[in-house]
Symmetry: C2
Subunit: 516 residues, 2 copies
């Protein structure tokens, strides 16, 4: 059975379930007099994802500006360990299903990532900017009772890795898959390597042999591999949960490879795209058409061997539309994915700022042969300068000086076709201009929340829409609905009053707005 039929069946099943989400629902709920945004749930299944394509297409969900969406995102590497990453999880089984002629997600390509979406945003038009706040990210426990409660991830040293063919040991062109298991000591989340194996030729249900990792979703036959359980003993890799790929649809093509990042975001593979961060994307098609995927549990700047710790994650995001007419100086000429968090602005440069346009008709092939870090650095430097000039209202000379004395340029990735360099600009150096301090009580009560204070324990608690955030003054962690969370910044005391940054206030007002 081909893809179309498979999808049709599932769609008819899910149409009923999705009806409420797809329909326009006014944001009519109120809390303490203020309007509470609608919260949607977008499950990962073969109806709600596309495999490898971040181009235009029918939305699986339409939201209003300000709405919150809980998004399930699934790693495309799950097939590297079927037992630990697919079996028993209905959504993942549905997406990966491929038995004989019955292949769900038959249309895999031109890229590799399982992308949840697209999500259409009411009223979004080219020239607008889409803001995506990442309110929460949680690892997705596997569905197999045998490994109950555990979460696994995959790092594949793949044929597109930076040192492929240049290893010192033979065979130099080997591909090696390492399965990681995520754990926590209560304070720090970490990943440990469980076992590794060398990729061996794998035969898919169509009878095609895959001598290398050249097609997504092939289930590795564990009878054909040799597992090495003696791997990275005692090493605990720090967990940095993030979305490797989050994109609005580009205007230049209909079907777009999910692998090379570009002006519309996509596979940026910056581990800073994590809980507590906000992304800004230039909208270039009606509805924006946001897709989310490629979740990672850990990655270094460069993603050297081709992949991160690829795992599945469920995230809460808030989507806010900024209309072209009302854009501030930082956003009014935005032509790349910009990141903001509590302490930084991060500008993303690429070998080609808009490779689809720059490389012409064969762009989606040619991009894989033309990238360099040097090109990406030049792009990042020019973008950072433009950001400082326009966004921070500096002269060109001021901007250039600041880029040299305090801006850190790092190598985002060298494995995604369109290579990346990012520039990290600290907000602290601009003082109140970029880290405005606000009175916590005034800000949150103005928002409609209830603010409580316990002198004995120096604890502030903020309640809104059935949610409660508590934090001790000066602490880096707090509790949210009873669970420990890392705060974007500690709450401070200033002249006897609790104060936070305006970013903190805005971020946690969004977090508290989620309807459970």
């Amino acid at each position: 059975m081909g893809k179309r039929t498979g999808r049709k069946v599932c769609l008819s099943l899910s149409a009923l379930l999705a009806f409420n989400s797809l329909a326009y629902v006014a944001n009519a709920d109120t809390n303490n007099g203020s309007t509470v945004p609608k919260t949607h749930y977008l499950a990962a299944n073969s109806d709600n994802v596309r495999w490898g394509n971040i181009g235009k297409g029918d939305p699986v969900l339409t939201v209003n500006s300000g709405d919150i969406v809980t998004v399930e995102a699934i790693t495309h590497h799950s097939g590297d360990d079927y037992e630990r990453m697919i079996k028993g999880d209905a959504g993942v089984e549905d997406i990966f299903h491929w038995e004989g002629d019955d292949k769900h997600e038959a249309d895999r390509g031109p890229g590799v990532h399982i992308m949840t979406g697209p999500i259409a945003v009411e009223g979004a038009e080219p020239g607008d900017v889409l803001e995506v706040k990442i309110l929460d990210m949680k690892l997705r426990p596997n569905g197999n009772e045998e490994y109950a409660g555990k979460t696994y991830g995959v790092n594949a040293a793949a044929n597109w890795g930076y040192l492929y063919g240049e290893m010192v040991e033979e065979p130099k062109t080997r591909e090696v898959v390492t399965i990681y298991e995520m754990d926590s000591d209560g304070v720090t989340d970490y990943a440990t390597a469980l076992y590794s194996y060398r990729w061996t030729p794998q035969t898919d249900p169509d009878g095609k042999v895959h001598p290398t990792i050249d097609y997504p979703g092939v289930i590795v036959d564990h009878d054909t591999i040799e597992k090495n359980f003696n791997v990275l003993e005692g090493v605990k890799v720090p967990v940095r949960l993030h979305f490797g790929t989050m994109a609005v649809a580009p205007k230049e093509a209909d079907v777009v490879d999910s692998v090379p990042p570009s002006y519309y975001g996509g596979n940026i593979d910056d581990w800073r795209v994590t809980e507590g961060a906000t992304m800004y994307y230039p909208v270039s098609v009606s509805g924006a058409l946001l897709t989310i995927g490629d979740p990672h549990a850990g990655q270094g700047d460069s993603e050297l061997n081709g992949t991160a710790i690829e795992t599945s994650v469920t995230g809460d995001i808030q989507i806010t539309l900024h209309k072209k007419a009302n854009l501030d100086n930082k956003l009014s000429e935005l032509n790349y994915p910009l990141l903001e968090n509590e302490n930084e602005w991060v500008v993303h440069g690429f070998s080609y700022a808009n490779y689809l346009e720059e490389l012409g008709e064969n762009a989606q092939k040619d991009i894989y042969n033309n990238s360099s870090i040097d090109k990406a650095m030049k792009d990042a430097a020019n973008k950072a300068k433009a950001f400082l000039m326009k966004g921070m209202e500096l002269s060109e000379d001021e901007a250039y000086s600041l880029m040299s004395v305090s801006t850190d340029f790092g190598i985002t990735q060298v494995v995604d076709g369109n290579w990346g360099v990012h520039a990290v600009i600290g907000k602290g150096q601009f003082g109140e201009a970029e880290q405005k301090t606000v009175n916590l009580r005034t800000s949150f009560e103005g928002f409609g929340a209830k603010v409580g204070w316990q002198t004995a324990t120096q604890t502030i608690s903020i309640s809104y829409n059935g949610n409660t955030l508590s934090a001790v003054i000066g602490a880096t962690t707090g509790t949210y609905n009873g669970a420990t969370v890392k705060l974007t910044a500690p709450v401070q005391l200033k002249d006897g009053k609790a104060v936070v940054s305006d970013y903190f206030a805005s971020f946690y007002q969004s977090v508290l707005s989620k309807t459970n």
Copy 2:
């Protein structure tokens, strides 16, 4: 008067002063039964520095392994504001002195940095490794009563800057000097821009006109420039004090340009080469011949416009020789400058790992036309892999995976001829193997120190050789001889006992060993 005569006069004056340092002095002082290393003072003046050359040469000081040296390091950009950075400071005036034919440091080149040294290390031979711990760094207040107590620095957007000729505003090829003033709010040290000016052709005392910044130590005539005091208003650049250039002499040439970094260290321009860090250099000539210079008050990864905030700094360093026969796995094949601090190992890659050897006879010219970030990344990736395999005893597959999931690659600099990429490897992921916890009292008492404990304030105090370090459990700052200092890590309580990392213990044992 040419250089030789000028130096000769000064040398005859300083020979007497330097005699004790040059002579072999046994480390005979003792404290609580342990041996206290000798502390030397190396002032910056025209006897003790070379300008632009980090090659072989007569040492100005000879030390034994374990000795501590207080080193004055002077910025070569002081001439950009004579009043604020030269006038009234005898050492700096001496170095920059150039009136008519009377030119101290007449031999400026082939590089630009004022390098204090060389310091010879007794017994150092090719194949050994020289360890340099940076125990302390302090800004050098200017010597002009009019600006008493203040310290200034220079950022020059220079002709070797990354975007020179590619600015959007005209003239695209302008060079702009920004004078910064360093300050502190008691918690954070920062720099603010005071004024800037565009470089105008400057005539040196020999009558030669310098249309661009093409020769070090030219005193800018402030009657020829236009000062813009309206620059970076309200911006407080975080201070990151570090030595831009620290080198052992290479074997390949006698006179060596101080600008391009290489296997022997030199102008790495990594802001992590700061107080609390330890550098390891492969020795390639007898005596090692360490030189120190190019102090910076602030720099971002990339040093984009050609310079940092260039200022003058006095540092305490401890020099330790590791003989070839006794090198551990991390050092036994070291062929590049390696950095260690409390939490990280930092591997430094360059476009050319050893450009003097690789580029042949004209290497010192050709290096300026052949660098790229792509080449530096390849070098950094291969070095990081080798470090993880040899130093951490990982297989090649384990190392490659870890490089992808947790190692951050950044762009060190793109302006020093031989461009740099660094790899930051976290120690924490290796647990006790790299961050061994030691009992503070046992460790420091074993070293010969007195350890005190105040239960009421949870304060530990460690005294040795007339110095005292105090720290409250869990605090990020402590006091050292009464002054507030940032600790490399907080002291922790474990099972009711104060514990620190072995790096902390080793570092502060060195700090306490300085004889004041």
